[in-house]
């Protein structure tokens, strides 16, 4: 208890609070601007922490991380371009809501459930960090592979008109990610001898191209044809979600927060899977699944709760095991290390005060984000008043900056343009774009975990079917695919029957 008070006193100093607030603001800015992501923000924030004391440094980094995760929903809702891969699932219903003039409601709900998810996962972490980290350890390559397969099965739910087209999109996403240097064997794949191609297609760059380029093309196309933007978009009221609406969805929020925390705790998976699974879950258990994709607020609540619950989840392996779950948490890890805080099992014995400091910083960061973003909504919705063609120009420039800044590579700006053109072509051909992003996100994990597992077992597939955990996830994936197939089959039947009776 003494240590907790100590930590509280240390954390609630003005300069520490300032650091957390600043971090949250930077994170929010980077997260909410299409093209820029919080991984870049964290890389920029890291050198700033060298000159800070350890608690301020932690606060700055955690604030940036959490702010970035939360901010991703802003451009997903307003422009249909996710600010981070974790916010890609928010586009489904957030963007239609904005088009229907309910942007501020979606934005408000997104930030509130984000804070809920984040605090929920923090509570889980405080209560059960040792237990959860023990469970997380049992997730080896075979189990993570199974989990990723389960994640891929959500393609069914977002395939749009036909499962076939969804699968094609997913496979294209998976294919794109195999280009470049294969880290496992040090072999070049489809690089055609070009050094630039060695770096492969970066997930963030591909995501920018996938969502932003079709957006820009569509805006210019409409402008050329003289189509006026819908009137509702210019009339935005600052409408915030009511408590009734929140309570009505409390159970959904809790389930999605659990899901996010659990998936976040497994190293190497992270936000996007959690968000897609949560969205799929919300749609599948909804009484009116048809309204999803047309502005159902549940389609915003589910992914946004889950992706922020991931923040607390990833802190568990980070602190308890010293394992960063993604590039962003790897930078947080570096920041901790440079201040002499070595995450791992011994941390909770030797650095109790810092651990409490981390907990308190997370709470402060969420409070800061809640305040900033609720105030910011009034500002954000004005984006919708900007004439679309001017917005499109700004988006091009921001995406240019964003694609370049991921790896400081011009190659990535070319990649963005090419992936964008490809995506536009596919959308025109009725191939849905979102399964592509799922393939992009999950492709590298799917392949590497599979290969590691086979490597471990000496080429024996038994490693997959002898693990109960893996079997559970395979079964869940099968269940989802099965439900989808039977659903399509019955829909077809009932339609034929309907046609038959009307003809008669």
């Amino acid at each position: 208890m003494d240590q907790f008070l100590n930590a509280a006193i240390m954390t609630l100093q003005p300069e520490v609070l300032g650091a957390i607030g600043l971090g949250s603001l930077i994170g929010l800015i980077f997260g909410s601007i299409p093209g820029l992501t919080f991984t870049v923000a964290l890389a920029l924030a890291l050198p700033l922490t060298f000159n800070l004391d350890s608690i301020s440094a932690i606060g700055l980094l955690l604030g940036t991380y959490i702010g970035g995760m939360t901010g991703g929903s802003v451009s997903a809702i307003l422009l249909g371009i996710p600010g981070t891969p974790s916010a890609a699932a928010t586009v489904f219903d957030g963007y239609p809501m904005a088009k229907n003039g309910r942007a501020s409601l979606a934005l408000g709900m997104a930030v509130i459930v984000s804070v809920f998810g984040g605090i929920f996962s923090l509570v889980v972490m405080v209560v059960a960090v040792q237990l959860v980290s023990k469970v997380a350890i049992t997730f080896g390559p075979a189990e993570i592979f199974a989990l990723v397969v389960f994640g891929l099965s959500t393609i069914c739910g977002m395939a749009g008109r036909s499962l076939l087209r969804g699968l094609i999109a997913g496979v294209i996403g998976l294919m794109l990610m195999t280009i470049g240097l294969d880290a496992f064997d040090g072999v070049q794949r489809l690089t055609f001898g070009s050094t630039n191609m060695l770096q492969g297609i970066n997930l963030l760059v591909a995501m920018i191209g996938l969502f932003a380029v079709p957006f820009v093309i569509q805006v210019f196309d409409e402008h050329r044809r003289g189509i006026k933007p819908p009137a509702q978009a210019t009339d935005v009221r600052a409408e915030l979600p009511s408590f009734r609406l929140m309570f009505a969805n409390l159970w959904l929020m809790i389930r999605c927060a659990f899901l996010g925390t659990g998936i976040g705790a497994i190293p190497g998976t992270g936000g996007p899977i959690a968000a897609f699974l949560a969205y799929d879950h919300a749609k599948r258990f909804s009484k009116e699944p048809k309204t999803f994709g047309r502005g159902n607020i549940k389609g915003v609540i589910a992914p946004e709760t889950a992706n922020n619950a991931v923040t607390g989840g990833t802190m568990i392996p980070l602190l308890a095991l010293g394992i960063p779950g993604d590039p962003a948490t790897a930078i947080v890890l570096a920041g901790l290390q440079i201040h002499g805080i070595v995450p791992g099992p011994a941390l909770f014995m030797t650095n109790q005060t810092e651990v409490y400091g981390i907990y308190i910083s997370i709470v402060v960061a969420y409070v800061a984000i809640l305040v900033m973003q609720l105030l910011g909504i009034r500002l954000f919705v004005h984006v919708l008043r900007v004439p679309p063609r001017l917005m499109a120009i700004v988006v091009i420039v921001l995406c240019g900056i964003g694609a370049f800044s991921v790896r400081n590579s011009i190659f990535d700006v070319y990649t963005m343009a090419i992936v964008g053109l490809l995506a536009y072509g596919l959308i025109k051909a009725d191939i849905p774009a979102t399964p592509i992003i799922l393939g992009l996100v999950l492709g590298p994990i799917l392949e590497s975990e599979f290969r590691t597992a086979m490597n471990l077992s000496g080429g024996d597939f038994a490693i997959f079917y002898t693990s109960p955990t893996a079997l559970v996830f395979f079964a869940l994936a099968l269940l989802i695919v099965g439900l989808q197939l039977s659903g399509e089959f019955f829909r077809k039947k009932s339609k034929n029957a309907a046609v038959g009776t009307s003809n008669a």
Partner: protein, 169 residues
């Protein structure tokens, strides 16, 4: 039927892409060290094959299948409806936008962020956004470039591209 024709065409394009991919993968990626290892070739090859099969199914469905199911279902996808059923495609717009992005990448490397942004934004204003007022064109292009340069480059410390020919910023 146009829908059928479109499906068959898309399927054919994807099928040939999948087959070309497979050939390239087969010819350029070594199979791996053997033993229990899954080599670097296995996944790309499998995916290429999968794409070919799926697109073949798409072609078959286009000729024999029941397109009614696909066409009548409500679109529960996030893509705006008008983008997929908009009829004639503004291929000129597509080309212009794409060309500008490629030019942006090229110029960014040669002229640096600031100059390339001014040039590209001005050009897009004229060609894509149909802007004719010189004042607005200059204002927008210089404004966007300088604002981004100040906010991202100077305030937030994002590394912006430097030019190799000349480098104003």
């Amino acid at each position: 039927m146009p829908q059928k024709m479109q499906d068959a065409f898309v399927g054919a394009v994807l099928l040939s892409a999948g087959l070309v991919w497979c050939v390239l993968v087969w010819r350029t990626i070594p199979p791996g060290t053997g033993g229990g290892d899954v080599g670097p070739r296995a996944f790309p090859l499998l995916l290429g094959a999968l794409l070919s099969i799926l697109s073949a199914v798409m072609i078959i469905k286009a000729f024999t299948g029941t397109p009614a199911v696909e066409a009548d279902l409500p679109i529960d996808d996030a893509e705006p409806e008008d983008s997929s059923t908009g009829g004639s495609v503004g291929w000129l717009t597509v080309f212009l936008t794409f060309a500008h992005m490629i030019a942006y990448a090229f110029l960014m490397q040669k002229l640096g962020f600031l100059l390339s942004t001014v040039v590209v934004v001005a050009s897009i204003m004229v060609t894509c956004a149909g802007e004719r007022s010189p004042l607005r064109i200059v204002g927008m292009s210089v404004g966007v470039a300088v604002m981004c340069w100040l906010i991202f480059g100077k305030l937030l410390g994002v590394y912006l591209a430097n030019g190799t020919w000349i480098n104003l910023g």
